[in-house]
């Protein structure tokens, strides 16, 4: 059994941030300052948010006025990470010069949230493949009887399959109204409506459509400027409260693509915590049956077929 001299305490980081705020408040500073916040550590967004709140609260206690959305000298607070410490720095603008305050908290004392999310990973499962082009697909949450539905968007219609991997059966076909899409610019995205899993949103170039998979109603479309999602935000309670973005690597359609999982709130220069190689370009990423899942359409460059995968988050060893 190990007894560490610094036991993990859930508030250790917050306390450290409060100490930083006290130091910063004691330094010569402008009357009004704009808080600029940067996080380069592996702390979760939620945790970082708590730290920010602690800092602001302490500064207010010290009667330092922090503004937002206004032009004012910037008070820059950064959260950095070393092998053993979480380092907080504050660059406080004064009249003549900028002063700095630094505070450290041992990573071991910061608790489980301080650890990097390297234990999360991606797993894929092939659901469906066909030769005809698939624009998007979505695996709907299972119904009460455990039956799942897979909706596939092609250039012309919506195909609704029921069953499970390996034994899907076509249940319904809904034609897409309006003129046929140009082949070169064919694009589409299926979106699950949050209020009702049976209703789907269909994004098409210049149009937004809605369809109900439960009945035989036609697809209704209206002209609208589509905002195409860049990826899928995923979360898995067993992996913690952190959220991740699932995106493709962005290669062209002649190369094999990768799915990359990055912590939500981190920039592109932060390394991906997980990746999944695919056999060809990723055509679309859509929602899955739960927040920890996504439905991904890939074109297999070897066979030329379009494949639909269920991509899931997994945590632990």
């Amino acid at each position: 059994m190990t007894t560490e001299p610094v036991a993990a305490r859930p508030d250790a980081l917050e306390e450290g941030m409060e100490r930083l705020a006290k130091k910063a408040a004691a330094l010569p500073h402008e009357r009004r300052m704009l808080l600029v916040w940067t996080n380069h550590s592996a702390l979760s967004e939620k945790r970082v948010g708590r730290l920010r709140a602690a800092f602001v609260a302490q500064m207010e206690t010290a009667q330092v006025r922090l503004v937002q959305g206004e032009t004012a000298p910037a008070l820059r607070v950064a959260i950095e990470q070393t092998p053993t410490q979480i380092v907080f720095t504050a660059a406080v603008p004064g009249e003549a010069s900028t002063s700095f305050a630094i505070e450290e908290v041992a990573r071991a004392a910061a608790g489980i949230d301080a650890s990097p999310g390297s234990s999360v990973r991606l797993e894929k499962e092939l659901l469906w493949q066909q030769e005809a082009k698939i624009l998007s697909a979505v695996l709907l949450p299972a119904s009460a009887d455990g039956r799942k539905q897979l909706v596939v968007l092609t250039e012309e219609d919506l195909l609704i399959y029921g069953g499970g991997p390996g034994n899907w059966a076509l249940e319904n076909t809904k034609l897409l109204p309006g003129p046929r899409q140009a082949q070169r610019a064919a694009r589409g995205q299926l979106i699950i409506a949050t209020e009702s899993s049976g209703r789907l949103g269909v994004l098409l170039p210049g149009r937004r459509c809605e369809a109900d998979v439960a009945d035989q109603s036609a697809v209704a479309c209206a002209n609208a400027a589509a905002e195409w999602p860049g990826g899928r935000l995923m979360a898995l309670p067993s992996c913690g409260t952190q959220t991740w973005w699932l995106k493709s690597d962005g290669v062209d359609w002649t190369e094999q693509d990768r799915l990359l999982l990055r912590s939500a709130g981190t920039g592109r220069d932060v390394a991906a915590v997980g990746e999944l190689g695919m056999a060809g370009p990723v055509i679309s990423i859509s929602a899955g049956e739960s927040a920890g899942n996504a439905t991904v359409v890939v074109r297999n460059l070897s066979s030329g077929t379009y494949e639909v995968y269920r991509v899931a988050l997994a945590c632990g060893d």
Binding site: M1, K23, E80, T89
Partner: protein, 517 residues
Amino acid sequence: MRCIALRWLAATKSLWSAIALCCAMAPAGAAERPQYGGVLRVELRAASANLQPTRWKAGSGDFATNQRLAELVFDRLVVLDNYGRFQPQIATEWSHDAAAKSWQFTLRQGVKFSDGTLLTPGDVVAALRPLLPQAMQVTAASGGIVIQCGAPSADLLELLASGPYFIYKDSGSGLRGTGSFVLESVSASGREADKAGADGMPGQTQRLRFRFNENCWSGRPYLDAIEVTLGVPPLKALLDLQLGKTDLGELSLETARRARQTNLKCWTSAPLTLYALKFSGNGKGENEQRLREAIRLSVDRGAIARVLLQKEAEPAGSFLPQWLSGYAFLFDTESNLERGKELRKMMTGSTPGTVQPLRVTVDANSELSKLIAERVVVDSRAAGLTLQTVKGSARAAGDAGGPKNEGDAQLMAWRYTSLSPRNVLESLANAARWQPAEGVMSLEADARYAWEKRMMEEKNLLPLVAVPDFAAVDGRVRNWSPAPWGEWRLADVWLEHGDAPNGMRDAVTKASVGARP
């Protein structure tokens, strides 16, 4: 030993069966189990190695090689994992007083050296005493040791988890450790292997063979042996990797780029080697100060890191890198050529760098040093300063700081060999011949920052860029997870399709199902 092996085999079989079942049901993503056996072939750049930690010099380039090899045969009291947590090794428990001056470590029971003798607290004391700073006293206690520090040392664990602080015993016929491997033989080129008795012979040593330590307290390593070849130039290591003649090769900056282009699995550490300009003389004169400041302002660190070193390095505005201090970004790395020119114009007399060139000694054996020094010369010339590179003669092996300084300044390469920022700063201060008025550095980050700032103002040492380590592995090397700070942790590595050791065979199928994509 055989009993243990059989029990292990039985356990492994049932475990694999369970795994195979799970793999059929579960979605893809389950980890692959390691395979025992095989010889890992490693090629390192250093021409010699020394396993005796007392002979390692802080900041020297050979430190990394020595440390990596020492990790195979020795253990530490504690190690640091990738999550910032100290994990027990020889020490299982530790605590300290409120002032963090008195530390108690409980030692693991039943740990044996590779010769079968039991590890005692006295052995730990004997190993650590010559290595610890003078202000720290280590004594044996019941079931453990006590380290008494003259000043608060909350960073003692960082210190012990890095650097030369290994636990070993000098048995008279050589060094013995408790690590996963034992040094079996040492051979020079063309000569037959000698049974290893010594602790690594510098100079002529070319190949070392480490065999698994069956007495290892953490269990037999997966590998049967590790063969390390020293003195392999990075380009040859790269070729050998591509030809399959080696499994793990230490690369250079340039060869690492090539390795990536050939789809080898590459590893880049955090910036571990600081390249800095070290000035001779005390620099107290006004002209000297202006000269050094002008050089500092004229050198474009960003261009060196971004363009010249092809984004493989980081500009260094401070002595401690960002990954070690967390506040390096507070130091300015931007160049200001106009101000540099102004300072040049203000210089009077015949200070080196004005009429006569300032001679910068460079390690003739390091292409990277030469490149950086040449860029410093070119940048300084833009400010009207005249610098000239001079090839320096090599220091003795293991000495820190690069070649002997035979000029007015020296481009030194300083290796970060400790996880304790304070320890690194103190070592650098020694190298820069700087002693602040307050003497001992406080543990507070603010104090360290202030100390570092003052050291920068002295201008005895001008940081330029920090360069990481590079390595590449063959595809059959599995489970290699080196630390960003340079530890290679080869003890956990296993080889795919390795030779079965001593009758121990796995029933593991090929890793196709459930393989992590």
